[in-house]
């Protein structure tokens, strides 16, 4: 009986694997504040999906980033049309420096990304948003915050 149940569950799981993830789950954004001036943004990229390095954009509000973030090198991919492009699989972590210390303040992080799935689909660029509070000076990193679920357009 247990075997049958396991087998049935396996079949359900296999069926679910045919489903594509919505972009916010294929490329899940989270972030934490490392100190009063530095954020660390992270995209967790689901297996079978990849992000384009040159499509990543970050912005904070209020205020601004001190400089363009340094993106880690990606994996080279030979794209039939775009030539050699860099992509990220599994995860990409980017450090963001604010243009001023903002201890105790709440900031909104907007991250734009664009990627594809190996099965042969690409997602339009998406912007994910999260809010976090910067720690006081010398207090260490804050907790990890996940991006808010996207607004459902049919409720707007």
């Amino acid at each position: 009986m247990a075997t049958a149940l396991v087998a049935a569950l396996f079949l359900v799981a296999t069926a679910a694997a045919n489903d594509l993830l919505p972009p916010e789950r294929a490329f899940a954004l989270s972030a934490r504040a490392l100190d009063e001036r530095t954020l660390e943004a992270r995209f967790a990229v689901a297996r079978g999906y990849y992000l384009y390095r040159d499509k990543l954009r970050f912005a904070v509000a209020p205020g601004a980033l001190a400089s363009l973030p340094v993106l880690p090198p990606g994996q080279m991919k030979d794209d039939e049309f775009f030539g050699r492009v860099e992509t990220y699989r599994k995860e990409v972590v980017v450090r963001l420096t604010l243009d001023r210390p903002a201890a105790g303040e709440r900031v909104t992080l907007n991250a734009e990304s664009q990627g594809c799935a190996d099965v042969g689909v690409c997602y339009p660029p998406q912007t994910q948003t999260l809010e976090l509070t910067l720690p006081a000076a010398g207090r260490g990193a804050g907790p990890k915050v996940d991006a808010a679920p996207p607004k459902k357009s049919w409720f707007n």
Binding site: A2, A4, L11, A15, N18, D19, P23, E80, V121, P124
Partner: protein
Amino acid sequence: MALALRSGLIPWLLIGVAAAVALAAGFLVAERTGNPMTAPATPGAPDALLGITLPDASGKQEALGQWRGKVLVVNFWATWCTPCREEMPEFVTVQRELGGRGLQFVGIAIDEPAKVRQFADEIGLNYPSLIGGYGAIELSKSLGNKVGALPFTLILDRSGAVAHTQLGPLREAKLRSIVAQLL
């Protein structure tokens, strides 16, 4: 049955039943939508699609309703989508061969007119590609594009009913076999 009990066959019978049910469910979904990755279109959405008007890359307004009565292949695409660009030359071939028999491709690009024009020239696009913008992603969702990815292709029969939806590349052989039954 006694034999089944003695030799412990019952779990295997149950597995068989579970497998059959799961397979049947899978086939039913695939049969209905043509693709397990797509959802059925919202009621009224295919009609709404045939009621819209979109500009082409030169700004000329085109009503989708003008192709009512044809077998219509509506392909949502973008120049930034490599799998979309890969499959479109095949659509050009099929349009050339079967256009005379009542097959009509229409592209809806989630893109800028200049980029669409450039790519259309590059591959010798022989069917209209209209400019949908990001709003067209929402339109495609109402037609069964569950996650809003590209390419997404919808085939309507001559009565305007959905015959097939496809998220991801629609291979030429599959495309030909579907439209052959509709023409």
